[in-house]
Symmetry: C2
Subunit: 264 residues, 2 copies
Amino acid sequence: MNRSTTSPVDARRQFRAGLIQPTSGWSAGYAQANLIALPRDLAFDFLLFAQRNPKPCPVLEVLDAGETFGGIFGSTADEADIRTDAPQYRIYEHGELIDSPSHALDYWRDDLVSFLIGCSFTFEHPLISAGVPVRHITENRNVPMYETSLPCRPAGSLSGNLVVSLRMIPASQVSDAVRITSRYPAVHGAPIHIGDPSLIGITDLDNPDFGDAPISEPGDIPVFWACGVTPQAMVMASKPPLAITHAPGHMLITDAPDRGFQVP
Amino acid sequence: MNRSTTSPVDARRQFRAGLIQPTSGWSAGYAQANLIALPRDLAFDFLLFAQRNPKPCPVLEVLDAGETFGGIFGSTADEADIRTDAPQYRIYEHGELIDSPSHALDYWRDDLVSFLIGCSFTFEHPLISAGVPVRHITENRNVPMYETSLPCRPAGSLSGNLVVSLRMIPASQVSDAVRITSRYPAVHGAPIHIGDPSLIGITDLDNPDFGDAPISEPGDIPVFWACGVTPQAMVMASKPPLAITHAPGHMLITDAPDRGFQVP
């Protein structure tokens, strides 16, 4: 079994059956998505939060209350189930992380609206194709993610700081990394910061807030992209009664081809 | 007074004072926007409709219930007022057009949420700069718009067909028109149809559903872009109790520079 050639449906079935591992490198060519499910009475505020913060929160799909598949995420209940098909979930009550189960069935409610948010894993394959090293894939680790000091634009009752993902890039290839990722605005697009982490409130690169510590080679510099874990920082800051998310790095794999997100 | 060099604030004040005319060609370099204001209890459905139909409904800004300015649309009440600063409005009750006033003050309610939707006028200046003729600007007319037979993807209680704008383009410059407009995905992006109008349900080019009849020169072919009047077709089909929109072609002029919408 080669994870990169596993189809989205097969990948989802493996995770549904209990496999837990980060999804970077899985199902090459298909978009992966961050998940946040919120009660219907917060759905407008969140969709507005996403619209006002499109770099961290590019919305790829919304499953309305009571829906567990559809659109770019399966066309039958057998093909996809939003409650079980991420490798791991996080359950937040009033902003507190209370559980990290392999499925969310025990916490699901029929009034939850599910938002699928674009993921930077989508542009990692084009980076690799262009010869830009993506070190957490090479090393089979989770991507490092950090909460920054940059506030998102609030919406209604929802606010929080931007979360970023980090890739260490050889100095001579930073331009390529910018050029390539800027063509994928629906999956976070161009980097939001290149260089000194302290300018955006990151004090210790070796201790990320989510994911694994970074691997670097001499001559690498830190390049930061807006990250779809931002909604989880929003949940911790805004304390909605219930939020169900994926575990960072353990994404939903969609049926949408990566190439559909490339512009122009 | 040169309309193309009028600042957004000055343009809005002129329309607030009662001037009624199409805004194509006004305030060069600043994004214009379609307006739809709906009661708060339909706001999630509409934002979802927009998210599911991003080509006709690219959301540039949302003013939450009770707000009349903000974000890319003025920073004080004196600079911008969503209720008065389009040259002309349309008022729909239960899907019926009941009035086309020069301001919407008589119909405004504090529970209305205002959505500003990107407008293809934004990419007309780059087209002209590249030597692609935009005939309705040259001729001082409104752009022709048509309701098609193509259904939008519904959201909750909202559904309707796609509306398109038409520009007649010389055959040798169609490639340029595609290339240039595809760099502006937030303002409708690349054309959705080039050539035979009957394939998308348009039977009579000379009688558009909105705006003025097209002007063409020998060798032109019809090029269609998704249009921000689509929410008005949705209103007519879905019959919400109240909707306030701009009159087609009579847009809101925002403070957002056009260049901010160019990718990559």
